[in-house]
Amino acid sequence: MTNGVAELENTDTIFIIGSNTATAHPLVATRIFRALEKGAKLVVADPRKNQIAEFADLYLQHKPGSDVTLLNGMMKVILDQGLQDQAFIDANTEEFDGFKALIDGVDLDACAAATGLTVDGIEQAAALYAKAGTASIVYCMGITQHTNGVDNVKSLANLSMVTGNIGRESTGVNPLRGQNNVQGACDMGGLPNVLTGYQPVTLGAASKKFADAWGVDELPTQIGLTIPEMLSGIEEEKVHALWVMGENPVVSDPDADHVVKALEKVDLLIVQDIFLTPTARLADVVLPGCSFAEKDGTFVNTERRITRVRKAVEPVGESKADWEIIRDVSNAFGFEMAYDSPEEIFTEIAELTPSYGGVSYGRLEGDGIQWPCPTPEHPGTPFLHKDGRFTRGKGLFHAIEYKGPAEVVDAEYPLWMTTGRVYAHYHTGTMTRNSVALDREIPEGFLEIHPEDAAAIGVCDGHRVRLASRRGEIETRVSITERVEKGVVFMPFHFEEANVNKLTNPSFDPIAKIPELKVCAVAVEKI
């Protein structure tokens, strides 16, 4: 997030797109409800009428995958009506002319047709966002899990810059991180192209600094493989060993049958987890890690706030903290690691990572610290890009043309399917489905379908159906609801026995390599 969660409370207009906030990020939703009590306006755009949409001043049910068209339409309205913040644009951004040329060519009637909205709806959304004193954009995987996910994100950046809604309190472009420590995993270099704090592996100086600190002659400087590339690397016999720590790709990744095949094929599969997940069942060796309650450490939340995780109980059985497991394997492998506590590791991280430079366990007592925090005296950074100062110098406009989703509906697979979360469960369900109260709350998967579509295939609420895509099929029961539009179905992804990722499309965004989990074409039939 460019801005802090608490700042949302004082925003004049909140624009939520592709985020099921009340379900997936309840405590962010709380701030939004408080903002509404204080008189804020809420605009929600989502193909599925999720809970927070019920509170919206304006709800736009646009077609899956048509986000760029909607956003370009809104920006067309803003420029046509002179609602832009020209002073901000002139002072702080680049490439506005190329962007404006593209937007000038946008036809609002065509936008309305492609999104399934009305021109009036697009105009109202533009006015609510652009006329507000402070406007904040909130988005989630509904924006990024598309073959054009990067385009979607750049379009949101365009929208914030064109109206000067960035670099001030209660504005910004705010992605809600799906899992608790996604931000931390990225910050820590859990990516193929960067070391900690986003220092590129290709940058000689960074690579040398780390090599010296880690006591090796050199580090690899070629960008590594992403998850989909590792899986295809296994098939092509380029990748022979895979170490999976606390992830469950068999349930979380698209085209699950294909993932299983790759994991069965790889010569050595090491899985480190707290339960025997579907992924762990395929392993050659399973190393029992322990949960957050059984170890010390830190997490980073969606607003870049680093906070402490503290050990409350001893690990179950002979399970060990994941840092101990890695240390022990490394020592057995012959690469010495002598850490006795997570705090020692954190001190090393702070030494090597400029944005964490001023953070220490001592300073994390209390409220935690929002990075960047380069020195011990620095108070941390609640919002980024202050006064229009972007990381790269000036904010860059991108002219983004609409590209449709990779897969479209046809006679054989006539329904659009989109996926998401339910309130009681989390990700692949490894933890929540092992929690008595949460499992009782929502014990099984389901498919949301519009009443007219349900009538067409002859099913009532609770009936079982077979759901098929070009990649596989699963069975589940239907839940008939007008939350989804006619022609669109929705399914949560937490349930391994009705694993919706057997159906989803692994085609990915060419830059971010995010698979298109949010749109694919399916057929539904009664069993």
Binding site: A185, G224, L276, R305, R310, V316, E318, V329
Partner: protein, 135 residues
């Protein structure tokens, strides 16, 4: 009886709520939201209120497992660690470091993600490190 509360951070979603875990004689019994947390100010969602339940669940893995004759069987740590390290050595010696891939995790701590990528880059010599940020 030994009663204790421990302030910590939620393991589920990216809100990062803070709460106290209550323990009685080494057993987790309850979750109490932290009123002074700037993130959640004394509130939690249904997942947070019940977060203590999965930790000491019977289905937790209690010992390392190793595949022997097609089945995963319980072994001692020593054997599991030696197996893991030896097989990794064999793969890197034969096929090079880039024949190994690592999936870091959005569920474990920063310190643990740091160590895994350090092991991948410094010990194995590959940048094949990713996690499911995209999922």
């Amino acid at each position: 009886m030994e009663y204790k509360t421990t302030l910590t951070t939620c393991t589920y979603c990216g809100c990062g709520c803070n709460f106290y875990l209550e323990t009685l004689d080494g057993k987790l019994t309850n979750t109490i939201p932290c009123k002074t947390s700037p993130v959640n100010e004394g509130k939690l969602c249904i997942k947070g209120w019940n977060v203590h339940q999965f930790v000491q669940n019977d289905r937790r893995l209690k010992k390392p497992l190793l595949r022997k004759g097609g089945e995963l069987v319980e072994v001692e740590w020593e054997e599991a660690l030696a197996y893991t390290a030896d097989r990794l050595k064999a793969v890197t010696a034969e096929k090079g470091g880039d024949a190994v891939g690592f999936l870091a995790s959005a569920k474990v701590t920063n310190e643990e993600n740091y160590l895994l990528q350090k092991f991948a880059r410094a010990a194995i010599g590959t940048n094949n490190v990713d996690h499911c940020a995209r999922l």
